[in-house]
């Protein structure tokens, strides 16, 4: 057998990785496609510094909700109340500051107490009283809408507090538009350096512990792609006004929740509860406690969302709140969170919210009829979930091994295939004529199908390592 061409082999390896981890990369590919499409439709305006910065700022309030919603959905629950809860908490803070002359800090802290109590109550009804979360939070949705209207007295209240306003429209530095923001550039290069360093450290640690690392060519490809991405994002931001407070808050929340869900005992137990509640209980985990914590965390993030939204628009209004929770739920699903529970990444939910906001932003920018936007959004959501269902049972594949196996089993495959077709044909004919041999033929049909599938499976599961010895013989 001939050894494979190294360039071809590299692409096969890359292909196997994509194929094996399609669930993880699918969304990034989709986001890339959306970016390219809108850039083309808007003569490149979509990815220009101004619009790109705006896009990320607009995404902030949905992102933080989506992060919390991911954990809610991971535990097989839902929270419909967070849109109006967030808007109400935003209104609570604005009214406290503007009308009652409280300081922003005090107002936010009292809102925090409120939202923790609310989260506990929601969690209590869901976990202890065992009322479906859909009903509990639907009730909450109505209640918070009422509270929002009460608190704002049904009118729009503008915000005048400089500190509060800075959250929504301020940037870390006072960069003049058109020049390059130094801080953002420094952050960008540090992130790239950090990323490369961490990758290398992890490889050396794996080596020390004897854990297999991914192939070196894949590792380098990933590093190059990620570095380019970080460079592009920070470079774009730096040429406008740099990093906004909204983006900073969002990034910090996403990083904290990423660490929380992947590195802490409590975070992992949330996933255990979602994956198999009975088994979690038998493993000594209190399912009720976990559910209550998840609803409290969701409430705290709703507070962030409400404050960010109010300060971004520089007002609070009884019209805030509708559809926020639905965008968050959609973002979580687009980000690959499974409705069956136990699966979902907060980083992907963040990307999911960027997908949603890109569609909204991009279509507005491209002057597409705004009535079409919800239709596109709905279709994308449906596609994302369909994709998730179809890729659920994807098994790992080594396309290099498959390439060799295809050559090795070429003859067998051909024979099995033709035999199968023959019997299939005979069976079809026999069943039309109501032939007596039909039982015997059906038996042959299934065994031929079995033979064919066996060869397909062998090819499918072939590994490159299996062929190393054989290659040397040639």
């Amino acid at each position: 057998m001939k050894k494979i061409n190294p360039v071809f082999k590299y692409f096969l390896t890359l292909g196997s990785m994509l194929r094996t981890n399609i669930r993880d990369y699918g969304m990034y590919i989709a986001l890339g496609a959306i970016f390219i499409t809108f850039s083309a439709m808007t003569n490149g305006n979509f990815l220009k510094p101004t619009n790109f910065t705006n896009l990320l700022n607009q995404t902030a309030y949905v992102s933080v909700l989506a992060v919390g919603m991911t954990l809610v959905i991971v535990t097989k629950q839902i929270d419909l109340s967070v849109g109006f809860l967030g808007a109400f908490l935003g209104a609570y803070v604005v009214v406290a500051v503007e009308v009652n002359d409280q300081s922003v800090i005090v107002a936010v802290l009292s809102a925090l107490v409120i939202t923790i109590i609310v989260g506990f109550i929601k969690g209590y009804f869901v976990a202890k009283v065992k009322i479906p979360a859909f009903v509990v939070t639907l009730a909450g949705m109505f209640i918070f809408k009422g509270l929002l209207m009460l608190r704002t007295n049904n009118r729009t209240i503008p915000t005048t507090n400089t500190f509060f306003n800075k959250i929504g429209v301020g940037y870390l530095t006072d960069n003049v538009v058109g020049t390059v923001d130094t801080l953002t550039a420094v952050v960008g290069f540090s992130l790239i350096a950090l990323f490369i360093l961490m990758g290398i450290l992890k490889r050396s640690k794996n080596k020390r512990l004897g854990i297999p690392s991914e192939k070196i060519e894949l590792f380098i490809t990933k590093l190059i792609i990620m570095s380019t991405l970080i460079f592009f994002i920070t470079w774009t931001l730096a040429r406008f006004r740099g990093i906004s407070y909204l983006l900073l808050i969002t990034a910090v929340i996403v990083v904290i929740y990423h660490i929380f869900t992947t590195q802490t005992v409590l975070g992992r137990r949330i996933y255990a509860v979602g994956g198999n509640p009975e088994a979690a209980e038998l493993s000594g985990i209190s399912v009720e406690k976990i559910l209550i914590i998840v609803f409290i965390s969701m409430g705290i993030l709703a507070l962030f969302s409400g404050v960010m939204y109010a300060s971004m628009l520089q007002n609070t209004s009884p019209n805030h709140g509708p559809f926020w929770e639905l965008y968050a739920i959609a973002a979580a699903y687009i980000g690959g969170t499974s409705a069956d529970g136990g699966v979902g990444k907060v980083v992907n939910a963040f990307i999911g919210s960027i997908v949603i906001m890109s569609l909204k932003n991009g279509m507005a920018l491209a002057a597409v009829n705004s009535n079409i936007e919800p239709i596109v959004l709905g279709s994308v959501l449906l596609l994302a979930v369909v994709f998730d269902v179809y890729t659920r049972n994807v098994r790992g594949a080594d396309m290099v091994g498959m390439h060799y196996a295809k050559i090795e089993y070429k003859e067998e495959y051909k024979n099995a295939k033709s035999k199968f077709n023959e019997i299939k044909h005979a069976l079809k004919k026999a069943s039309k004529e109501d032939n007596k041999d039909i039982i015997e033929l059906e038996y042959q049909y299934t065994s031929a199908l079995g033979d064919l599938n066996r060869i397909k499976d062998t090819i499918r599961s072939a590994q490159e390592e299996d062929y190393i010895g054989k290659l040397r013989n040639y």
């Binding site: 005992v265 088994a279 039982i439």
Partner: protein, 506 residues
């Protein structure tokens, strides 16, 4: 020299409403031995293990559990785990979407001030997996990507990571193929050498003979005997398991004379892709007109799976082979096709799969063929009532009215409604899956009478039952199934409970 008794259960009695599930059960297990508990279905084996592992809290039963020379009061499974008793149920307690290494430590995570210590977790997981002989498993893969055999070993690895001293396995090999079973049994013997004591519940007497150091036979919630290694022999165990006389609780019917074959499976297989094994393996059964054919076998042998795959395969097994109804090959790939072909299936799980408990009798009975009581799409309610009344009278269903909700009926009457429901579809072949489970003796007799009336009218019946007396008393012919394979066929005159059980236990 007498070895130390690691576990002693003294006079354990556990009652459920109306049933004494365990009656003064005494049992002891010596340190470092493999102890088996054997008995027929419903003998109380699983209940006993639930008492031992604290799933039934202390106080819900009477008697004492002495473990490690101390009387224990377990209030939940975490208490028994702390003491060193770990139970592995048939329903595995794993998280399919989490990685292998994470699964092993869920609930007792290796932590560093509330943060996961992943390095240590992975290192120890690799070590425990090596101990259970899983060298080829990638610890990063999700547990759900592996079959039951591997999952079971992961559970044992989890038990080891909890410093287990007494490992309880409830029918561990019931869902495994031969290779996996052998691997598991070897592992148990291996663990014994490392000082881990095991209790196993098993129906497979070959396994018992192979690795048991001692065993306890349970029957009807009572301990029948304890045997040591030297005394263990298959014949003796079976005698003790069966042990009861068949009294005259079956109505008589004329002896079956030969008839035309109305239903047949030919090289019929069902492959369960989730469990990655054949649940029905080359089944060839024949049913004649007016005959009652029994399907005997132990729990998990594939009886219900056989019935389900004949009845339109609602569980989506991969089917191969043919089913022949009245001399014609039928592709029965949905229950509605099976019904049209003249087959009906009375489920063993009447609450889950058979009946709609919130609805009334008339709605339940007529559900199988609403077309019969409707005109151009509209239901004809008087006709529905009339038809239902007829079946209520025919089957002697005791109820104040046909508009009674099913949840208010007794188990026996619910079962009769389930039979009525399927008779309404006018089948030619009726499959009864555990038709008398959980109903009292009087109602059983009535069900048997109904069966006799039906075959007298020319219907053919396939009856699945775990109760050998019922098979012996009601069937004309019996097929025995073990692990999906048809192991024997007896005319009822040639069969004895011992013979059937011997074929069912392999």
């Amino acid at each position: 020299m007498q070895k130390k008794k690691l576990l002693e259960m003294r006079a354990i009695t556990k009652t459920f409403p109306g049933v004494k599930a365990l009656d003064e059960v005494d049992l002891y297990v010596e340190e470092g031995e493999i102890h088996f508990i054997v008995g027929e279905n419903g003998a109380g084996k699983s209940t006993l293990m639930k008492v031992l592992s604290g799933i039934y809290h202390h106080g819900t039963y009477s008697g004492d559990i002495v473990f490690d020379e101390q009387i224990q009061h377990f209030h939940g499974i975490s208490d028994s785990v702390k003491a060193g008793i770990v139970i592995i149920n048939q329903e595995l307690a794993l998280f399919p979407e989490l990685s292998v290494y994470e699964n092993i430590f869920v609930g007792h995570e290796i932590q560093n001030k509330k943060f996961m210590n992943w390095d240590e977790t992975k290192r120890l997981a690799t070590q425990y997996l090596k101990m259970v002989g899983l060298k080829k498993v990638d610890i990063y893969d999700n547990v759900g990507t592996y079959g039951v055999g591997v999952q079971q070993l992961v559970e044992i690895a989890k038990a080891l990571s909890q410093n287990v001293r007494l490992l309880i396995l409830d029918e561990p090999t019931a869902a495994l193929n031969e290779d996996d079973s052998e691997r598991l049994l070897n592992l148990i013997v291996d663990l014994k050498k490392k000082g881990i004591t095991s209790i196993m519940i098993s129906h497979k007497l070959k396994e018992v003979e192979a690795i048991a150091d001692s065993l306890t036979v349970l029957r009807d919630g009572k301990v029948i005997c304890r045997m040591d290694r030297s005394e263990i022999n298959e014949q003796e165990i079976i005698k003790n398991m069966v042990g009861r006389e068949i009294t005259d609780i079956f109505p008589k019917r004329p002896k079956f004379k030969d008839g035309e074959v109305v239903f047949e499976t030919v090289h019929f297989n069902a492959f369960d892709t989730n469990k990655n094994r054949y649940v029905v393996n080359n089944s060839n059964i024949k049913v004649k007109k007016g005959e009652v054919v029994g399907v005997a076998g132990l729990m998990g042998a594939g009886r219900t799976e056989l019935a389900m795959s004949i009845f339109g395969n609602p569980l989506n097994y991969k089917i191969s082979g043919s089913t022949v109804v009245y001399g014609k090959v039928h592709k029965l790939n949905s229950p509605s096709k099976a019904i049209k072909a003249g087959i009906a299936y009375v489920s063993e799980d009447r609450k889950g799969n058979g009946l709609i408990l919130r609805e009334d009798i008339s709605q339940n009975i007529t559900l199988t063929d609403l077309g019969k009581i409707s005109k151009s799409g509209f239901l004809n309610f008087p006709e529905q009532a009339l038809q239902s009344e007829k079946y209520v009278k025919d089957l002697n269903i005791k109820t104040p009215s046909i508009f009674q909700q099913l949840k208010n009926l007794s188990g026996g009457n619910q079962q009769k409604v389930q039979v009525a429901k399927w008779l309404f579809a006018e089948p030619k072949i009726l499959i009864l899956d555990e038709p008398t489970r959980g109903i009292d003796v009087g109602a059983k007799y009535e069900i048997y009478t109904i069966i006799n009336e039906l075959v007298a009218k020319g219907m053919s019946i396939i009856m699945i039952s775990s109760e050998l007396p019922e098979i012996m008393g009601m069937c004309d012919r019996v097929y025995v199934i073990a692990e999906g394979v048809q192991t024997a066929e007896f005319n009822i005159e040639d069969a004895t409970p011992e013979k059937i059980l011997a074929k069912a236990t392999l």
